[in-house]
Amino acid sequence: MLIEYYPAESYVHKLDVRTKALGFLVFTIISFVFLSPLVNLLIVLCACVILFTIGTPLSGIKKILKPLLPIFILMLLITGFTYPASNFISEENRKTLFSLGTVPFTMGGLLLGITLVLRILIMVITSTIVTYTTPIEDILQLLKKIKIPHQFAFIIATGIRFIPTMQKKSEMIQEAQKARGAEIGTGGIIKNIGSYITVLIPLIVDSLRMSDNLAIAMLNRGFGAMKTTTDLTEIKMRTRDYLICLGEAILIVFAFWIRSKNIGVL
């Protein structure tokens, strides 16, 4: 999952949600324009600089990246073995590093694999920057501005609100099951899936019950009494937002211009 919003006073916190959303788009698009890992590595470095200067907790990022690690390795292997040498322009990349039986593992495949991994990294890091620095209300207003129905936005907000609740519930259920002999988190994968059922069923039943109560509580709080609701704060673009947006636009045009010169290909 993403890192939750944390109220602080960093320079990214002060930007408008639209500036940040555009930044996220620009970084992601650029990462898809180039195939060379070098360009993407540069973007990752830039993103990391922003990430660390706004004081994001490292432990949270570790938690996000850890489960992705096997996927990264799998991606490297698959691209390395499946991309035939003929796909690459440069002689260097057509080289076979080693072969598994008759299947060659190419240099280009490895580099492409790294690019794919870096793309995911870029998306994870930039979206973390957005969620860490932007209160959910601002994101909802962004959705409202692009004409997404209020109900839909409300579902998202409530969903996010309940993430910590469900995490706590899941911990409590695990404790209750362990206390009567369930072995959760020990043993092989198959055994583990079996033992998670004892956690999943109470969790699902509990969520169903909670969703019933939530629906009632929504009515009690007048949800749907009026056609529109009052927004407490209005998102607002300032001069620095316009300047940064301009910079972001220039960046993406520049990126396409470089790409058209055949730089950053494999």
């Binding site: 109220p7 209750a176 206390a179 009567r180 072995e183 009690n220 709080r221 009052t230």
Partner: protein
């Protein structure tokens, strides 16, 4: 006759109500009226129809929860059949039991603003009502806090603030204190009575809180089995101990003595005392001075030589890098003891208990169960020796039948099918669920699910039992039944550790009380000793049972005993009266 109802008043005129999927009517005629500005308590046992009544008041029934309804409910001059719930919400605020599912915002401020912004209040107005309602519930200064980081009591107060912010004329609360400790409970009632004094808010609150209802409510309505069985002043209700017991409400402690004296013909019905002052007035008026023979006799605390069941050596524990949650605990609990662990929320009771079956591991020090260091044993392995019953049964139930649910733990123990089946039947019989063997657990009521969770632990036949808050959210009957079971297990030789906020239960059932405060044990001993350490108890935010306070007040009359239950005090009083020849 055309009745003109005032704003802020409530009127229920029901002929009949039946839930859609139910076979029988839940109400057969229910009539009551509440005037503007009144503070009314709604009492009665679980299942009497209190929640249903409250859902009728703002139109949740029949608009959201359907059923067959005949009759009218008029709240704030509006007939609930004609308005949407959302529209009614502007005038009648309903706070339900579980605060967790009534919080929508990620920050406190945003959550309180949810209601008013749904109602289309202006921005300035919203800011004003948000800060006003947070102040009213004592959460001012919490505006920017994350709602997920609040404690149970704070969440409950936030849920009330969220409804207050819509500026309702009527406030209805369904068991707002059921999950709170005594301090939190007192706070909620103080808050409500403060609201009542300040403005014209009409308040209806349900709950099992005898003492608070007595102190704060103007009027009590008692429901039993879908009928209004009684209505009137709280003092009148609680003077009538026979009636309160009949409708499943716990009488105040002193009223039991009063009732007993009434039966001896010493006081009449109207002067059965319901509070300490009235009791002390009685002893003064009757010039009672204690001279009976057993006055001041020392109880026998012979040292038992039972083997040690639980021992902790220099046990310390911290959650992550925060302050330590447990500080160098050295506790020895003998086999067969019934220990009550008390202390306010966050004092370390649950954290300590979870060390005993390995759910948490000590940061420093060690834990021994039956003489063995448990650091190498998993929780699952320990489950055969240490049974742990959690508060919420729904956190463990996952099987399709009651029988399978109990079998789950046994399957892990490599027992033959025959032994398993005997154990399951024994456990189910013990908790009184044998006739539900093939039922689906979720078709059982909450009290029965609690018993089922208890049976799943009992079937594994652990010799040590840890029970976390066995009576939370239960009515008086449920509490008594649960305690009878624990008492029976204790007599069979089980070692029992009970975490509780209910001092009456600790005093009556436990033979040892351990008081936690800030991760340390501040008192440890028999209830007769612990509950008379008033200074230390106060610093640990624990209030002793009423009879302890009364015994203290009676010292000037020469009373020298240390009763911890009202029965003991009552017996002493009767003995004294008999000794003087007043009573036979």
């Amino acid at each position: 006759m055309i009745e003109t109802l005032e704003r802020g008043s409530l009127k229920v005129d029901l002929l009949r109500f039946k839930y859609e999927n139910s076979l029988t009517d839940i109400f057969n005629s229910l009539n009551f009226k509440i005037e503007r500005g009144e503070f009314v308590g709604l009492m009665g046992r679980t299942g009497a129809g209190k929640t249903t009544t409250m859902m009728l008041l703002n139109g949740l029934i029949p608009h959201f929860i359907e059923g067959e309804l005949e009759g009218n409910v008029i709240a704030n001059t509006m007939n609930t059949q004609r308005y949407r719930v959302q529209t009614m919400a502007r005038f009648i605020g309903l706070v339900l039991q579980d605060p967790e599912t009534q919080i929508f915002g990620i920050t406190v401020e945003r959550d309180v603003a949810f209601g008013p912004s749904n109602l289309g209040f202006g921005k300035e107005k919203i800011r004003e009502v948000v800060s006003k309602s947070l102040k009213a519930v004592g959460l001012d200064g919490y505006e920017k806090r994350m709602t997920s980081e609040l404690s149970g009591g704070e969440k409950q107060r936030l849920a009330i603030a969220g409804v207050l912010a819509m500026e309702p004329e009527i406030l209805v609360l369904d068991e707002p204190t059921s999950e709170l400790d005594p301090a939190g409970r007192e706070e909620i009632y103080k808050l409500l009575s403060g609201l009542k004094k300040k403005g014209d808010v009409t308040i209806l609150v349900s709950g099992h809180d005898t003492e608070e209802m007595l102190e704060y409510a103007d009027r009590i309505i008692v429901l039993d089995d879908g009928q209004k069985v009684w209505e009137g002043k709280p003092t009148t209700l609680f003077r009538n101990v026979g009636l309160t017991k009949k409708v499943g409400i716990r009488p105040p402690e002193v009223a039991e003595i009063g009732n007993c004296l009434k039966e001896c013909g010493l006081v009449n019905q109207d002067s059965v005392f319901v509070n300490k002052d009235e009791f002390l007035q009685f002893t003064k008026n009757h010039f009672i001075s204690f001279e009976m023979p057993n006055n001041g006799l020392k109880k026998d605390y012979s040292i038992k030589n039972d083997p040690v069941a639980i021992e902790t050596r220099d046990l310390s524990f911290n959650y992550q890098k925060k302050n330590s949650a447990l500080k160098e605990l050295n506790i020895k609990i003998n086999k067969g003891e019934f220990v009550a662990l008390i202390g306010k929320n966050g004092a370390g009771k649950t954290t300590f208990s979870k060390q005993l079956n390995g759910l948490l591991r000590p940061t420093n020090g060690s834990v021994f169960i039956n003489g063995n260091d448990i650091s190498r044993l998993t929780t699952a392995q320990l489950s055969k020796e240490v049974g742990y019953v959690f508060q919420n049964p729904d956190h463990q139930i996952f099987s399709a039948t009651v029988y399978d649910e109990v079998e789950f733990g046994l399957k892990k123990m490599n027992l033959t099918e025959k032994i398993r089946s005997t154990r399951i039947n024994n456990a189910l019989e013990f908790v009184g669920l044998e006739k539900f063997k093939n039922r689906h657990p979720f078709t059982l009521g909450k009290g029965e699910r609690q018993k089922l969770a208890f049976a799943t632990v009992l079937a594994m036949e652990p010799k040590i039992l840890i029970i976390d808050e066995p009576t939370t959210g239960q009515d008086w009957d449920g509490t008594n039944k649960m305690m009878e079971m624990l008492d029976k297990l204790h007599k069979q030789g089980h070692t029992i550790l009970m975490i509780t906020h209910n001092m009456l239960l600790a005093a009556e059932y436990a033979d040892r009380v351990i008081v936690f405060s800030n991760g340390k044990v501040v008192l440890d001993g028999p209830p007769e000793k612990v509950f008379y350490e008033s200074e230390i108890l106060r610093s640990a935010s624990v209030t002793a049972p009423d009879c302890v306070i009364l015994a203290g007040e009676l010292r000037s009359t020469g009373y020298k005993n240390y009763p911890v239950t009202i029965n003991e005090l009552q017996n002493d009083l009767l003995e004294q009266l008999a000794w003087k020849g007043n009573v036979n």
